[in-house]
Symmetry: C2
Subunit: 472 residues, 2 copies
């Protein structure tokens, strides 16, 4: 606190300090390793209380603009089981980690340029969050309950932010986390919830499965012959059912296609990007050895259950694609000096990007988030943005577009391109957007699953306009 | 010639020189401006004779490997009206031009690493090719006739290459040029034609139009609502007709979609790349002012005729997209020292990437190249590769895939990924491929219309394997 006070001359400002600088001195990050120069804005890392012995790690970045009046924005990565530190140090945070994990550099398109951003590791067991009882079995409802408690704990630590506008943002499985949490916040008058922005969110298991097969055909992965066969056995004229087909031949075709697709060396999170480890080798028959199957896909197919249970997977989780590499994050987050600077509780195990324990034991309670979104929209109080990097295959844009349509809200403006002023290239298409009352669907052209990482400039344009309630 | 002889000690090698170095001394490029070091391989630039007063400019790169035994490969860009110098100095040539047009740097993935490559500017009126009578009205058959004469003229200049294997390669409208030329070469026993490799070729006007609408939907440009309407009025269950629809409502929907798509600021040649000039501005109603329509598209629609004739187009040609920038090429090619080094005939007008004169006056004689490909395949003597950068919208991969299927050749291996060893990233998917007898369809993942420029390493892998008749 002393450091803050010394900067403020005079008694009047000390009063302001009282009101707006009630932040917890013990959580302030004084010196963050890896940075050449410490930031001008304040940031805090520590723990928030949830139920029982659960303690959720957070890292909070005050706005670089005007902390007092800028909104408070939560960012959460998905999984379930993955850490929001990924978002912070590789996507939209103020410091991005170097390839070797030793250094940080400033991100000119950090979302804390326009907002106070709270990165939350949730549920307990993810990253540096933990529970003393080490019980990491949880589900959607319990997770949102604990996230709500953690937010209450946050506003206890930072009461000066209670009046600010409050937004939930995140990506991937946050498509389940955030609507569940938002529904709880509807009844909490102490939190000034204004809206949600979800990137490449999982919104409906079946729509995600079904659209993925289209997406794969649309991006040359499923050739015309295979696509024709799938259409013949899985579709009628207007509709295809790949997620839970009744036809045995269709089930078999989906199994063959899905298993191959997840083993040939495509970067599932960004279909045009290289496979970070190199594509898997083939056996003597020229076939790729199956090693991986993402656990949120095709859950109604016996093959995906069998695969998950079989222990065949080289990759423990089935969460990280074999084509992604999370080592630079782990190197940074596990640096003892970083742990110390971030006030990580001693004795905790090493940070990993995605927790096997949490993921395996997570109980999926919902098929989709329709009811949650409709509850929110019915109040006419909240703005919802579903945005998708259009090169992601895991939670592809088409499934979320279908999901948004399925909410049947009143159309305000039909699908059209949106533009941003690129620093180097001039006026450019950022993607496409469609507006409904309090609801928008938006694509980020050329971005993958982690769209603020892939396309920082248009993603920053997008979030700024969303927070300010300006058209894109 | 002296320079060559001085390097060769003794009489035996002088005999070899007689046989293998009959190349025209007057065409040799001694010193090429823009290069820090002159190349170790020999290259020649000059003129080839075609009919009447037509003189076609060529630039011939001897192989950096083994000129004597390596194949001779022709490269031709499309248009009609565009110069093959584009291919040379920005795609697959040994020297690539710098952004300011003043310098050249060596291309480690130049196709002359494995072949003797002849870049031909055709027809007369393109680039530095000309006709003394200045009549630049021509058509497909006359063009292929003149290309054949030019090749005969080439082998007269370079008789030592007559026995080498001979291949035709090129992109875009070369999808028409090369099959027409190849059919003529079938009856010329002096030219050892072995095959054709065509990149993002125009193979069928209707398939290109029809597939383009799918492609645009597949890449988020046409939203679901518009796509549903198009399907309703232009399609039955299994087939859509956008190119020449009978239904008036469908014609109107296609017109609206096509006109918008070509004006909103998409890079038509590489859909995820930025628009080089910046996207066009909007008028006060928020509408983009139409300025451009590519002339090979939707030729059966009244709107495209009207547009071409109206002089509305800001861009003279309707060939170059408003999002491409050809100035660095023009700067290099028009450098007086470059013209001199390349033996460009004095008094010729400035080099432009694509000739308005040639394009406007070109008479399109064919609807598609089916008959030509089938003639070639019937002999069982020639290998044909149609390859497509999968991000190109002008001649999209789907149309060429359909075209290849329409040839109904015997399937040898179904659609599957192909791999290459990336210098930095290890084993990677280069794209997908399907083999028929003497015919392959192949995609280049992430590449646009000018795929050797966008993805030099996999494109080089592809051409090497094609020339050596090895599986991809």
């Amino acid at each position: 606190m002393l450091r803050g006070m010394l900067l403020l001359p005079g008694i009047v400002l000390l009063v302001v300090l009282d009101l707006y600088d009630a932040a917890p001195g013990e959580d302030i990050v004084e010196t963050l390793p890896g940075l050449k120069n410490q930031p001008r804005f304040k940031h805090y890392s520590g723990y928030l209380n949830a139920s029982g012995t659960k303690r959720l790690h957070y890292w909070f970045m005050e706005s670089q603009n005007d902390p007092k009046s800028d909104p408070v924005v939560v960012w959460m990565n998905g999984g379930p089981g993955c850490s929001s530190m990924e978002g912070l140090i590789t996507e939209n945070g103020p410091f991005l980690v170097s390839p070797d994990g030793s250094k940080l550099h400033y991100n000119p398109y950090s979302w804390n340029m326009v907002a106070n951003v709270l990165y939350l590791e949730s549920p307990a067991g993810v990253g540096y969050s933990y529970s003393q009882d080490r019980n990491y079995t949880t589900n959607d409802d319990e997770t949102s309950y604990n996230n709500h408690l953690a937010l209450q704990s946050f506003f206890k630590k930072f009461p000066e932010y209670k009046k600010n506008e409050f937004y939930l943002t995140g990506e991937s499985y946050s498509g389940f986390y955030l609507p569940c949490l938002a529904v709880r916040l509807m009844n909490d008058s102490n939190i000034n919830l204004k809206g949600l922005a979800i990137g490449n969110g999982l919104s409906s298991l079946s729509m995600n499965d079904n659209s993925m097969m289209y997406f794969l055909h649309y991006h040359t992965v499923l050739g015309d012959d295979e696509w024709s066969m799938l259409q013949k056995y899985c579709c009628n004229c207007s509709k295809c059912e790949f997620s839970d087909p009744k036809d045995a031949k269709c089930r078999s075709l989906v199994r063959i296609a899905a298993q191959r697709i997840f083993t040939i060396g495509i970067n599932e999170y960004d279909i045009l990007s290289p496979c970070a480890d190199g594509a898997p080798a083939m056996d003597e028959n020229g076939e790729v050895i199956p090693s991986h199957f993402p656990s949120m896909l095709f859950r109604k197919h016996a093959f995906s259950h069998a695969w998950r249970k079989s222990g065949q997977m080289r990759n423990r989780l089935g969460l990280d694609s074999p084509c992604t590499n999370t080592s630079r994050m782990a190197r940074f987050m596990n640096n003892p000096a970083v742990r110390k600077a971030l006030h990580i509780e001693p004795g905790l195990p090493a940070w990993v990007d995605c927790s096997d324990d949490v993921h395996r034991n997570f109980v999926w309670q919902y098929e989709d988030m329709r009811a949650q979104h409709l509850s929110l929209l019915k109040t006419k109080k909240y703005r919802i943005l579903l945005y998708n990097g259009d090169q992601d295959m895991m939670c592809n844009y088409l499934g979320d577009q279908w999901f948004v349509e399925s909410l049947q809200q009143k159309l305000l403006k039909s699908y059209h391109p949106w533009y941003y002023e690129d620093k180097h290239e001039g006026r450019q298409i950022g993607g496409f957007v469609k507006y409904f009352t309090n609801l928008s669907f938006l694509t980020l052209k050329g971005a993958g699953h982690m769209s603020p990482k892939n396309k920082p400039q248009p993603a920053f344009y997008m979030i700024t306009h969303f927070l300010k309630n300006q058209p894109f």
